[in-house]
């Protein structure tokens, strides 16, 4: 029962934060809403038994990626957004099309997928560090090594791009 209540609270928090991200005019409010989404998703991962991933989500997304966003917004002194969409098609047909997309995805989930189980907190603890470590370093070793090179390239790229030109 408690896990149902927790799911409802954090799902509503995630959706409200998502709406806030899209509707707020100032980038810093959007950034804080995104941190709210990430926190709620971390709790939902805990409910689904993925404990290592939940903590990694908070450390990587909430503690590194979003700090990067917030620092860039502060450094560039990003102000409130000006203007709105000029395209009449997007303004008139945008919202109905988005609602259609949600309805389509919901229908596909209900109709096409086979009957799914119900989520019971504690019935599966398969996301411990030991399990993830075992799989990551045996079956998925090649993607792991490739991803470390990807991060190295990203660091080099970011440093080169953000460097001030000395002239």
């Amino acid at each position: 029962m408690i896990d149902t209540i927790l799911f409802i609270i954090f799902a509503i928090l995630a959706i409200v934060s998502g709406f806030n991200l899209v509707l707020q005019k100032h980038p810093i409010s959007s950034a804080l809403s995104l941190i709210g989404v990430m926190g709620s998703l971390a709790v939902l991962y805990l409910l689904l038994g993925a404990e290592f991933l939940a903590m990694a989500q908070m450390i990587v997304y909430g503690g590194a990626v979003m700090v990067l966003f917030v620092l860039v917004i502060m450094l560039l002194n990003a102000g409130r957004e000006k203007g709105s969409t000029k395209s009449w098609f997007a303004q008139i047909a945008g919202l109905p099309l988005l609602l259609c997309l949600v309805a389509l995805l919901g229908f596909l989930i209900r109709a096409i997928l086979p009957p799914l189980r119900s989520v019971e907190f504690g019935s599966w603890v398969g996301g411990t560090a030991e399990h993830i470590g075992q799989l990551l370093f045996t079956t998925y070793l090649l993607p792991f090594e490739v991803i470390s090179i990807l991060i190295l390239i990203a660091i080099l790229g970011a440093v080169v791009l953000a460097r001030k030109e000395l002239d």
Partner: protein, 102 residues
């Protein structure tokens, strides 16, 4: 009150994804567009973890881990590009970055 069916998690993932698409299409500040992309990636992560719970295999969580790492790398490079655009054009509105000539 019973337990939450897994399809609710998938529907939540779909709603967050569509919110991300809405932000990506409608917002004018490049940083907010970038944040909508991160929201879409998070929604997909939730979907992966839900299916990993359903099939009782951790491969979904491993893939979600890789998505997280790629999103972090992309955020770093993307924000560096945004900084460069701001330095060269002086604006963060994507409407005003509409010609190749500086």
């Amino acid at each position: 009150m019973g337990h939450v069916p897994l399809s609710w998690y998938l529907v939540l993932s779909a709603i967050l994804f569509v919110l991300g698409v809405a932000g990506f299409v409608y917002r004018k500040s490049i940083i907010t567009v970038f944040m909508s992309i991160e929201l879409m990636l998070n929604a997909v992560n939730l979907s992966f973890v839900s299916f990993s719970y359903e099939l009782r295999r951790i491969d979904g969580q491993i893939f979600s881990f890789f998505v997280m790492v790629v999103a972090a790398a992309e955020a770093a490079v993307g924000l560096a590009i945004i900084l460069t655009i701001f330095r060269n054009r002086g604006t963060l509105q994507i409407d005003e970055v509409d010609s190749m000539k500086l």
